[in-house]
Subunit: 164 residues, 2 copies
Amino acid sequence: MITLSDYIEDYLKKLLAVAPGQYVEIQRSELAEKFQCVPSQINYVLSTRFTPERGYLVQSRRGGRGYIKVMRIDPLYQKIWEELQKQLYSAAEKEYGCEMVKLRDFLMRLYEERLISRREAEIIGSVMREDIFNGLKIGSKEKNELIKRLVSNMLKAVLQEGSM
Amino acid sequence: MITLSDYIEDYLKKLLAVAPGQYVEIQRSELAEKFQCVPSQINYVLSTRFTPERGYLVQSRRGGRGYIKVMRIDPLYQKIWEELQKQLYSAAEKEYGCEMVKLRDFLMRLYEERLISRREAEIIGSVMREDIFNGLKIGSKEKNELIKRLVSNMLKAVLQEGSM
DNA sequence: ACTGGTTTGACCTTTACTGACCTTCGTAAT
DNA sequence: ATTACGAAGGTCAGTAAAGGTCAAACCAGT
């Protein structure tokens, strides 16, 4: 099942692919018109699919001559590990812990950056699911710590192994 | 006696038989409607009849435009799956559960038979360690179940993706 | 009666989409 | 310069549309 948001995401990615430079500039209302949706849906797509975790940055300007600029973030190979740790231990401190969704987004980015293969992404991703704890009596603090360790370990394993 | 679940199972299998590709996509509520049952019965059928043991995998997405995808898996991979389950649930009953050593042996075999790459073996292996639980208050029964689920999920991920 | 598979429904989580209302900023009129 | 207007884009809460979970009730065969 493909949603409208998926189409819009696709469209933007295709634009990015052929764009000279690492960015594209669009008009929100124009795009909304093109896809026959309300303008705020564009924001929805941007905020759910073009996040930093997925390797994108969005800038915009309001008012007359306003625009939205979508950029790809550079690969930053060295920083990958740090970024992961930040992911794991930022929201983590708020007691509610690392959000699986964000983690998976980050994973997909590693895949898109070709640091890991599709299969590797799936393998690692299979651990980032709330439902692995279903029916098990485990405290949420423990759940969280476990996820962090597992993901860290797995990533460490690939990063140590070198190129795929 | 033939139950409703049997009919639903049949129906899905027939769909799969004529489907181009090794999968079918359905809407849970639609199917429930067709068979005049509650939606959750579809989950029941899927979880009891379309398991990896029987050669199937199920993926899904929630929310608007959600769907359920039922896939066939390759017989070769199915064998592997069964072996893993045997590994996980044989010694498992002896309270101390799946021995990591045995699991690692199994992993190595997968690698030697070229079903997984070296990197994949490293990733999966990084989870098969007692020390991931160090200092965490988790019952040994839970630890055990968790390891099984994690390993199963990871292998499932490989099955889904097919040959490397 | 017991047992195990089946069926159901109440409640939950996730995702997509919409619309009313708000903020920002260029620019044309004063 | 100042102001007023209009043309962007932003926010957020609400609605709807999926699918997931779990435990209780319900049979059927022994």
